[in-house]
Symmetry: C2
Subunit: 266 residues, 2 copies
DNA sequence: CGTTGGATTGAGTTATCTCAATAGAAGTGG
DNA sequence: CCACTTCTATTGAGATAACTCAATCCAACG
């Protein structure tokens, strides 16, 4: 599920350099500086948790790249409910999905511990590049299609899976996307609160907590710290995360029977 | 939420004519013929309910336009569960969302009553057109972004809304997208079974049935026939369907000139 | 006119939510 | 450096929306 990584990072670097996908490494930035100039003419923004980069309905004038921390892209309902459509992690590029030049999502810094750092660049430049270079335009298009496929996978996850499966899939995705820094092998640090996770998986914080503890008691994961997770039994999590495509050609034996539900008991 | 309509139809006609968005009307086709030549060099396929156009994982060599009936685009899980990601209705174009040339979804004829008729055309031609004409390529890209926005809206619907709200939103969307033929004003015919609806809204057929009957008893809708629906109190349904983004600020999909605007009109 | 598949209705079960309380970190200021 | 506040996370108990299983109804069709 982690598709932002490679392609986008490469593209971002390329765009930053004003050339084509040269793979130029990103410049390091000082966290704490409010808005410093960055590589390739963009500016570096440092945000505290909760700060919003842009809101749904606003005109879209920039695009962004995450340097540190995390950004949540969400939809907000009038009554205060929230659906985190996607998390943007270091290396990810976002803010390119606008229809008619208007934001369809709200982007806020999500990171816990430490500030969230992003590089902001002008869409105008990107667009003129796309006009000039068809291959670049095609690249942008492919990125959009990838995000679409991702959204489809998430629809299955939310529509057809229980809490355990959602959490398991989420942990596997995060493990794949996060830099493997703390907590040893298979270990990583969640850059968001339980509430963010809950709003992403369409659960409550309580259910997320309970499910995590349940997976821990089962020996599938360890929780060395509040935000730290270590995968102990990847196989077990994958078995649950099965919102997967399909093997050969299962006939429409539409039982619609609940799947891994049973596995909840432990 | 109904965005396939305008833009796509226009594009399809343009593509069919081999030119650029001339707005040429589509040719009528004889339902019942298995695979007849169609306008613009495509072929017309006539399908009975359940027939599949393509399956997840297959190479993507064609794209399609719905002429009559309906097509469901779904994800299937190994254990037989199903999530209908999207319904394609007459006038809609689909089969363009592939990543790496491989189908991410399965497309099957969904229509009840009568056959489903689609026009099939080669992707190759479309791609060479996109390469030749940047404006055409941009159009394709915009379509993808629109579908992405739609998927995001659906994520909210599935993640943050109850059964009543899902069904209400679905009815409003279908009313906006379906030709207003039967059942008088605000009336239309659902081109799919309850099971399809259930698999789309991530509910069970029983819950869909119960919810429809509940809305009927409340006076929000009438159900003149098995597949016929008439909206009686649009206001009531809209109040429920509010998976919507934000009250005050300009709304992305429901504001201004977005085709889905019809959803709120009348 | 009986068969068949979809649709509806009913009764009981359960996964998740809600409400409420506790516990643990992190940060603040005296 | 230690109380104090504050925020986040966990845990418990009861409520509920949706699911499951099962029966019935209905329309289309041979």
């Amino acid at each position: 599920m982690a598709m932002d990584g490679e392609g986008m990072r490469e593209m971002a670097a390329g765009a930053a350099a004003g050339g084509r996908f040269s793979g130029m490494p990103l410049m390091a930035v000082r966290p704490g500086s409010a808005a410093a100039p960055a590589a390739g003419g963009g500016s570096t923004l440092s945000l505290t948790a909760g700060e919003t980069l842009y809101a749904e309905g606003e005109p879209a004038e920039h695009w962004y790249e995450v340097v540190a921390g995390a950004v949540r892209a969400c939809k907000l309902t009038p009554d205060g409910r929230r659906q985190v459509v996607e998390f943007h992690l270091p290396g990810d590029v976002f803010g390119l999905d606008e229809v008619d030049g208007v934001r369809g999502l709200t982007a806020e810094a999500a990171a816990a511990e430490g500030r969230t750092v992003v590089i902001r660049r002008c869409r105008r430049r990107l667009e003129s590049m796309a006009e000039a270079d068809p291959r670049f335009a095609r690249r942008l298009h492919e990125m959009a299609l990838r995000r679409l496929a991702r959204a489809h996978a998430r629809l299955v996850l939310l529509g057809r899976n229980g809490a355990v499966e959602r959490v398991a899939a989420f942990l596997l995705e995060m493990e794949a996307r996060m830099p493997r820094s703390d907590a040893g092998p298979g270990g990583f640090c969640l850059p968001m609160t339980r509430e963010d996770v809950a709003d992403h998986l369409a659960l409550t914080t309580e259910t997320v907590s309970r499910t995590l503890q349940m997976l821990r008691r089962r020996g599938a994961i360890a929780l060395p710290g509040l935000r730290l997770v270590r995968i102990l039994d990847r196989r077990a999590l994958q078995g649950l995360g099965e919102a997967a495509p399909m093997p050969a050609a299962p006939l429409p034996m539409r039982g619609a029977s609940a799947p891994g539900r049973r596995l909840l008991a432990a």
